[in-house]
Symmetry: C2
């Protein structure tokens, strides 16, 4: 196995923990936030900027890179690290989520899923084996198995079918896994307790080095997401990293860490940035709104990020209104800095046995929409 | 006067020269290329990146900043340097060119020009005095007088009227010029020799510290532009900087320097970059074209810019096709690096008395479209 995971500190009031994920490329402390580089680039940022903000692992998308520029081209380029000039870790998702959310006209059976490209309508077929091969061509450090993500809400029957199919696919993916490739399973089960438990037990049986928790943050109430974590996580061996897929708002980070999650990815900081909104300790600020036009304060007074050190809300507002790229660059820098800083503070708090205190303190002033 | 200009070296075969423009903020060596930051930002770039590429002076647009965010807001922010976090020099154009090229429904008389905003259709009136005031609010280091740029082609009568009006406006602008503000005149005259001469003589009479050469690069054949420089420049005192407005293609830089031009600005490097094209020593390369999809060479083999050190044409092609901002950032970095490097080599060649050689060598391999 080319990956190892150690729990360095377990909180005694919650399930929060600090760990270390070690691969050939280096070590990453958990809980860790992975910014999303869908198409081989974290939107608007250079790799150096992403690293300087504190990222050591990013997520990239199998579905998108398979369609454009194509995984064979990335292989020819020497793999995704070299293609995009990123020397940290890369986790690639399986494309399952995108096939089910973006691609039109999909047809699924136990063998795999047929879909059309959302770019040019061309026809493609993903099997669990093929998705492992694609990720091998991309050369990511951590690959994910193909999964079927049931929509929310869905019937128990639908959820059960998707969950069992995902388990079957996980076994097939595990059997073609290559040398040096780390493959994580993905737990499904929608918001049904017995399905979550069945999925987790079956995947743990397959002994994956890490587990994605999928099918959450897809529209269900947050309370249900937290419940699903509580049903799932105790069944995962403590020495395996737990990765909550697609989650990344500050309030959810706290609640998920408290329930034992180690890894996160989310488009939220980059997507919010594109829409002219930023995180602050008091909640979201829409700097694109007219209220910021003559506001000469930084995005977040006291923040040490590049955007806050040198630029005012008024300037960033002006750039966003004028459609200038620098505006989105600055909001992206601030949002990523905010999340990396928050996760670093969470790790420190767990180590110092004051995670619960930090959580209450943060959530007391952070207004959620 | 808060600006001084010294000729450090005069070429003996051409009119090329190296000079030094000194202001309170520092000195700039000429010939100098000024990248364009139309709306208070050089497209896609941070100020640090622009400076690191070699820029010490940028151009920004009075018309655009007046309309959005408004010159009074920029004044409130502490001036444009502070608003945009730029510690080099700023030259602002007068807005004349934009009023005549962008704004709909303009009405001109000797008093000034009425126009509608291209953003919201609101009605505005520019006079030579008002344009000086606006630039004072912006706090630029070098301001330009309001001018009327006759279109190309135009009749002799039209050109004469625009030229004489520009001269009259220059006198009025000169009379309201404030302390600490450096104001350049703008020479017009279209492609008519006697008008160019008349305009130059009249403006020299007003004794400006520097002269813009306007009304060129507006669609006329290049040979006519070079002729206009040959008619104009000998009439400008040698101790005043000569600024050819809106010019910046590599081949034109050489020809204009050879005719005695000291300063340039042009949107070409940033605009080409947005359209997926880059300068190379052999001419333009459209990296957005399919031919680059599997080309793993850098944009320009041997180039030391950030884009060429770490990324392939194939990767940049992928980013541009996918609409990723990093693609335009990388082409912009390369294009600005290319021009700054070229102008630095031109200065060095003039100093070492081999400008003519460099020009022949460069133009022999640089294919123009």
């Amino acid at each position: 196995m080319t990956i190892s995971f150690q729990v360095l500190k377990q909180d005694d009031r919650t399930w929060a923990r600090v760990g270390r994920l070690t691969t050939l490329l280096g070590a990453v402390e958990t809980p860790v936030f992975m910014p999303v580089g869908t198409r081989g680039t974290v939107r608007t940022m250079t790799p150096e900027e992403v690293r300087d903000l504190g990222a050591r692992i990013i997520l990239s998308n199998t579905y998108h890179l398979y369609l454009r520029p194509g995984h064979e081209l990335v292989r020819e380029a020497g793999g995704l690290h070299r293609f995009m000039h990123w020397d940290g870790l890369i986790l690639t998702d399986s494309g399952g989520f995108q096939v089910f959310s973006l691609a039109p006209l999909r047809k699924i059976n136990d063998d795999g899923v047929e879909f059309r490209s959302h770019i040019d309508g061309s026809r493609h077929f993903f099997t669990p084996e093929k998705v492992v091969e694609i990720q091998r061509a991309l050369g990511s450090d951590i690959a994910m198995v193909l999964d079927e993500c049931a929509p929310y809400p869905c019937s128990y029957e639908e959820a059960r079918a998707a969950t069992d199919r995902t388990t079957g696919w996980a076994a097939r993916a595990r059997s073609v896994e290559g040398n040096g490739q780390v493959l994580f399973g993905i737990i499904q089960g929608s918001v049904f307790r017995d399905l979550r438990e069945r999925s987790t037990r079956a995947l743990v049986e397959l002994d994956f080095p890490g587990y994605g928790i999928g099918g959450l943050s897809v529209g269900e109430p947050k309370s249900l997401m937290y419940k699903a974590l509580e049903w799932t996580i105790p069944l995962i061996p403590a020495d395996r990293p737990r990765y909550l897929m697609g989650v990344g708002s500050p309030e959810c980070l706290f609640e998920a860490v408290a329930r034992g999650v180690d890894m996160f990815d989310c488009v939220l900081p980059t997507r919010m940035a594109r829409h002219g909104a930023v995180f602050t300790r008091n909640g979201r600020l829409v700097v694109r709104n007219a209220g910021c036009a003559r506001d000469f304060r930084p995005l977040e007074p006291g923040c040490g990020c590049y955007a806050c050190r040198y630029f005012s809300r008024a300037y960033i507002h002006h750039l966003l209104k004028a459609g200038e790229v620098l505006g989105i660059r600055l909001t992206t820098i601030h949002n990523l800095h905010f999340l990396f800083d928050l996760v670093a503070r969470i790790r420190e708090a767990v180590r110092e046995e004051r995670f619960d205190h930090l959580r209450s303190e943060f959530l007391a002033s952070y207004l959620t929409p």
